[in-house]
């Protein structure tokens, strides 16, 4: 069951890391704190960018990731969604 929804948990963890860092986080500390391999991290970041959960910005020649409205929505609804998946055993 845990493996089944692993992807959802990883996405949630990445989004929460960014959110807890005043919604602005550099790629390197994000990679380090996410406990993912570099290739896994790239895969998830690409998915999050494609799905419009995070956006990439450059401030004073430094790169940052920050959450979009959809990213915040994912965080707020994550527990409800997980409860549905668990309750119905999907």
């Amino acid at each position: 069951m845990i493996k089944k929804r692993e992807r959802l948990e990883i996405i949630y963890d990445i989004l929460v890391l960014i959110n807890n860092n005043h919604n602005q986080m550099k790629p390197t500390p994000l990679l380090r704190k996410s406990n993912l391999s570099s290739s896994q991290f790239d895969k998830y970041i690409l998915e999050l960018l494609e799905k419009d959960f995070i956006e990439f910005s450059t401030v004073d020649s430094k790169n940052y990731y920050s959450l979009t409205k959809k990213g915040f929505e994912y965080i707020s609804k994550y527990k409800v969604i997980l409860k549905i998946i668990d309750d119905f055993d999907l």
Binding site: K4, Y74, I85
Partner: protein, 222 residues
């Protein structure tokens, strides 16, 4: 208006179908929103199972209404015997098979994925499945009672398997399956018996099904 249309069962049927339709649409739109956020496969099949249920309930309603109209107009009776009912029964078979597909995939997609990748890739290709189901719907319509029996066996097996494997309480899973049980009873009643004789059973079933739908909606809407 013909007195047949003033019978309480007709109005109760209409009110029940409308209620189920509205709640199912609400559940579907909520689950669709969650699926849009997560792209979680189980949610996709689960939400689609509600759409196929709506489709099925609407066909059941039309078939029941036809039975009432047939008692009024014999010309309509001949028409439906030749064309309408055959088409409707085919659509009903297709809706049952589609529901079976989404129902089974919602709960077992991961097991199938782990067991056999090729089979899983075929099963998740909805175009192939739709084509297969439409052909099966036309071929198997005369054996519609057998499909209903299959539906019941599948759901009973599914509940047994899940309960055996799971270490936690699966209240909502059981509630959802109760809905399927009532749906199956509804189908058995429609296909094998005359609809208008069992007013009391219908009433009890409609009340229980509405409660179940509201309970699922409450869980989903948060």
């Amino acid at each position: 208006m013909d007195p047949k249309f003033l019978e309480p069962l007709f109005w109760i049927d209409s009110a029940y179908t409308l209620t189920v339709f509205i709640i199912s649409i609400l559940i579907y739109s909520k689950l669709n929103n969650y699926y849009g956020l997560t792209a979680y496969e189980g949610l996709k099949y689960f939400k689609n199972s509600f759409i196929t249920l709506i489709f099925s309930f609407l066909i059941i309603y039309v078939l029941k209404t036809i039975e009432i109209v047939e008692q009024i107009d014999s010309l309509f009776n001949i028409y439906t015997m030749i064309k309408g009912e055959l088409l409707l029964h085919s659509l009903l078979t297709i809706s049952i098979l589609l529901f079976l597909y989404y129902y089974y995939m919602a709960f077992f997609f991961y097991d199938v994925k782990e067991m056999n990748r090729t089979f899983y890739n075929i099963l998740r290709n909805e175009k192939i499945i739709f084509l297969f189901i439409i052909i099966s719907g036309i071929v198997f319509t005369p054996k519609i009672d057998l499909i209903i029996l299959l539906l019941l066996c599948f759901s009973l097996y599914l509940v047994y398997r899940k309960m055996k494997k799971s270490q936690k309480r699966l209240n909502y899973f059981i509630i959802y399956n109760l809905l399927i049980l009532f749906y199956t009873i509804d189908l058995i009643q429609l296909v094998l018996f005359s609809i208008s004789k069992y007013f009391f059973i219908d009433m009890v079933m409609y009340i229980f099904q509405t409660i179940i739908y509201v309970k699922i909606w409450n869980e989903v809407k948060n």
